[in-house]
Assembly symmetry: C2
Homo-oligomer: 346 residues x 2
């Protein structure tokens, strides 16, 4: 290590990515879009190949004390598929690298692959390769997904125009509240192992955390309705963070309305129970894997009756203004409070 | 964990891969070849896209006490590029997932990316995406590489015919001996930290371990000479293990000659110094990342004068016979002694 030591926490995840990105340039003609969107875009004739990758680590991204291995397998594929969905593409292949310590049995790895298989079947994705290795500590799953889309159908983060309508699918904050519930039950169990967790009341929230779905259904439905979003991203880090990405890439501001942000009643009630503000959970809770996208106002009629698409605001021309209009009609700035993975780790 | 617990070590790495492979089928028309070769093959019109992935873990694949981060970055790209070379493809894009504990400074990560950048430049590969995360233990690097080749130029493991000549590039066993030297010096240093390691004599071997090159030069030269191998694989696990792969996929046996196997004089001398048999190091030492391929006998004249290609034997029709003819003209069976990553780990 040199004398000048800069901590990773000073830079943060996005700072690190920007630093890396600044050092690399594109030299191959087939690289259409590199670092910076949900997936890279590679030339393949009339079509383009989309590539995205995600790594999940035990102790960081999942806790096997409450995450069944089947669910983990399913989720690890779903979060990758979600990145292809966010480009308006169709996922087709995955490769999986796995590091396993010998506390895992063959049966445990079978359970993991049952979940992977179920997700592959559900999303019509082929497992085409990978790498296996031992691990001195926990389980590590690294997946790269390849997708495909006709070039003119690809939707990036940066295509929104002023007055485009901001849409979000499903509901937000549920996966985050599910995690809070699971963490609380774990603490109860650690204190008193005879206590059986009562999760029935929180079934929806826990399910959203343990077994999220990529919204490929929405991608197909938008296509059926001939509605091509102008920009799109999947919500992995939280609505606020993703809104900032859309704004930054489109060089616009965003205005959203608190009363339009979809929050399930159980998310709402559980947030109150945990003394958390529901809108904060929806804005900053991650891992919902819903889609956030913008449409041209003329496309509104095509999807206005869709039961699972919500219209939460619009893009405006000032790229420095990202605002939330509260239920009390107050305008408050949205904070780009993402997660800093590098803080407080040892 | 269930009552029936099977240890991963009972299955081994290849057993685990076979077990996984048997559960997955291919459903997408664009998946031309899935699990089982150096890279998967994906349809992209006249061309095919090749995909391969490798994960490197601290404490398993590298030891930062003697592996400089620049070299690690370079090597992590090179080993992936090598898989594309082994398909007779041209590497074009990589995505990198990185897990980093906060014992690493920004400057350390910069050093890692300097090596990655150098390799990207050298192999003309674009870094197009990735994922960063914190790690509770060591450094983890997972890379997926995309390559490209005209479909009729792709060389698989399974195309060899009886009497095809078995060729190997460079020399073998050097990376393994380099590792032995580094491990010995580490032990000396741990016993007496004032001892300065004297690595000059072993410079070639250590270099082969720390900074291997993918043999893209050979791929280009074979193309220039209009010589298309009938089967090919890169030597990551050791010559013996890779010969078994070629034999199995081509449904043939292999016969090689001990005196034809290329071993550098420093590998030879250092093996003797370590009381190891040089041919065993060449057969079973991994990480040389040389190319092993077969050619039709009619192509021999095209490459017979190439200074870095060695002709070590030929394929024969009995798939159950893999033999080495020793310098004493004795025929001995080749053992498929790969590495079992799952043995002896905690």
């Amino acid at each position: 290590m040199s004398d000048n030591r800069t901590e990773l926490s000073q830079l943060g995840e996005f700072g690190l990515i920007d630093r890396i990105k600044s050092k690399f340039s594109i030299t191959n003609g087939t690289t259409l879009v590199g670092i910076g969107d949900d997936a890279a875009i590679i030339d393949a004739g009339e079509q383009a190949v989309l590539v995205s990758t995600d790594m999940l680590l035990e102790g960081i991204h999942f806790d096997l004390s409450y995450m069944p291995l089947q669910h983990l397998g399913y989720k690890s594929v779903a979060v990758n598929v979600s990145d292809i969905a966010a480009m308006n593409g169709k996922p087709e292949q995955i490769v999986i690298s796995l590091a396993i310590s010998n506390r895992f049995s063959v049966e445990a790895i079978d359970a993991l692959f049952e979940g992977i298989q179920m997700a592959c079947k559900n999303y019509k994705v082929d497992l085409v390769g990978g790498d296996t290795s031992s691990s001195t500590s926990g389980l590590i799953i690294s997946i790269t997904v390849l997708g495909r889309a006709p070039k003119e159908q690809i939707v990036k983060r940066g295509g929104a125009k002023t007055n485009d309508i901001i849409c979000v699918t499903g509901d937000l904050g549920a996966a985050y509240m599910g995690l809070q519930v699971l963490e609380r039950e774990k603490q109860v169990f650690l204190t008193n192992p005879e206590m059986q967790p009562d999760l029935e009341k929180y079934e929806y929230l826990v399910g959203r955390q343990l077994r999220p779905e990529a919204r490929m259904d929405i991608i197909h439905e938008l296509r059926d309705r001939n509605c091509l979003p102008t920009s799109m991203i999947d919500i992995s880090d939280g609505l606020a963070s993703e809104l900032f990405h859309l704004g930054k890439h489109s060089n616009l501001g965003v205005k959203i309305f608190e009363d339009k942000v979809p929050i399930d009643h159980s998310t709402y009630e559980t947030a109150i129970e945990f003394k958390l503000d529901p809108i904060t959970c929806a804005l900053h809770g991650g891992e919902d894997y819903e889609l956030l996208f913008t449409i041209h106002p003329s496309d509104y009629d095509k999807i206005k009756n869709h039961p699972d698409i919500h219209f939460i605001g619009h893009m405006h021309k000032d790229p420095d203004q990202h605002v939330l209009i509260t239920k009390q009609q107050t305008e408050v700035p949205i904070q780009a409070q993402g997660w800093n993975h590098f803080k407080g780790q040892s």
